[in-house]
Symmetry: C2
Subunit: 196 residues, 2 copies
DNA sequence: CTGAGATGTAAGCCTCCGCTTACATCACCG
DNA sequence: CGGTGATGTAAGCGGAGGCTTACATCTCAG
């Protein structure tokens, strides 16, 4: 940061690609797909616009790369019982604005026109369904998982795009506790097996 | 429908405005703000594009009118106990694609840049907070209402933009029952303050 | 009937944005 | 060194989309 004087950084394709990727991730989650321009991305990355196309081909392809990079980590390798809690914790973590996760919220927002993003969304949904579905033996387990998913998505929307108070500033732990308790009603095992 | 032959309908400014409004409402909820063009709107309304500007001034102003028209009806005049159930019922109703409600989902999707839409979202949030907050006496009532709001928003997103199955085709009654049961955990009245 | 305002239309202006091209500059290998 | 491929840059093309303008046509009051 403080050493930002040098006119020419040393040439380094992979660093440039990384900068573009990071800038794209941030901007897509801040503004959604349509409202971020390739010029914005290049500017934030401190890079010429043409390089974006050299390295990623297309705005849409770049979006896909961001999306894929991100979603790989999402389900993670947590045991099923903890996937929910960890997903929530991640989503509620304060450094959201640093744009770690949540690009997939951008995908959601601009959804409908992009088949590849659709595929990723679908995959993500299936991953969650598989993992969370194992937590309940209700016959409508898949539906219940969708409801859980809906809640997580809604929380993300309200936090990152609406920035609704008191949600944004609330203690993540408290929020997680409330949500998990309510969710346990949905994902309980046959009789009352709430686990917090 | 069958009498669609006549080349020139009788001139009628208010009918034209209404047609534009309806077309705008449908398209905004189908595609979100950014991805619908004024030409699309005018075409669907069967009207010359310039009229949109004559009657509404600006694409954004038209959006605001749609939003305002819509949100007026949202909270409605139901007793507090039923606001939730009715909101859910509306959101889950099959004729969603007919684009009755849900323009505010478009507002959510394209959010961040538009102060007037922000205001409407905020207002909507406050309305719900007031009404639903009266259902619980927990000290963090506002937060709990936000969580409920988040769930409703998420359900709308998953249904209308992601079109997630089995959520979309599920029996609305069953969905509502599940959701309301879980929500009641959030909005319960005091006694028994179990927290895990 | 007629003139004037209301309503509708065709055409196009202008800016933004995705993307390309032609070229300059660097870094590394012989 | 020198020269060749990799990296970076400036400029601009082409089309889309918001908005305007100039004009045609209707309709209704007087």
């Amino acid at each position: 940061m403080t050493s930002e004087a040098p006119e020419h950084r040393r040439r380094d394709a992979s660093a440039t690609k990384a900068a573009l990727l990071r800038a794209a991730q941030e901007l897509f989650t801040e503004r959604g797909y349509e409202r971020t321009t390739v010029r914005d991305i290049a500017d934030r990355a401190g890079v010429n616009q043409a390089l974006l196309f050299r390295y990623f081909g297309t705005k849409e392809e770049l979006f896909h790369v961001v999306l894929a990079t991100e979603s790989r980590v999402l389900i993670a390798e947590s045991p099923a019982e903890q996937v929910l809690a960890r997903t929530l914790a991640k989503m509620l973590s304060r450094d959201m604005d640093a744009a770690q996760d949540g690009v997939w919220l951008a995908a959601l927002r601009s959804s409908g026109h992009d088949s590849a993003a659709d595929a990723i969304r679908k995959q993500l949904g299936e991953d969650y369904t598989r993992v969370l579905g194992s937590l309940t033996d209700a016959e409508d387990a898949d539906l219940r998982v969708d409801l859980v998913l809906a809640w997580i998505v809604g929380l993300g929307m309200l936090r990152t795009v609406v920035r609704k108070e008191p949600l944004v500033s609330a203690d993540p732990g408290a929020v997680a506790r409330l949500v998990l308790r309510a969710m346990s009603v949905l994902l309980e095992r046959a009789e009352t097996e709430p686990d917090c």
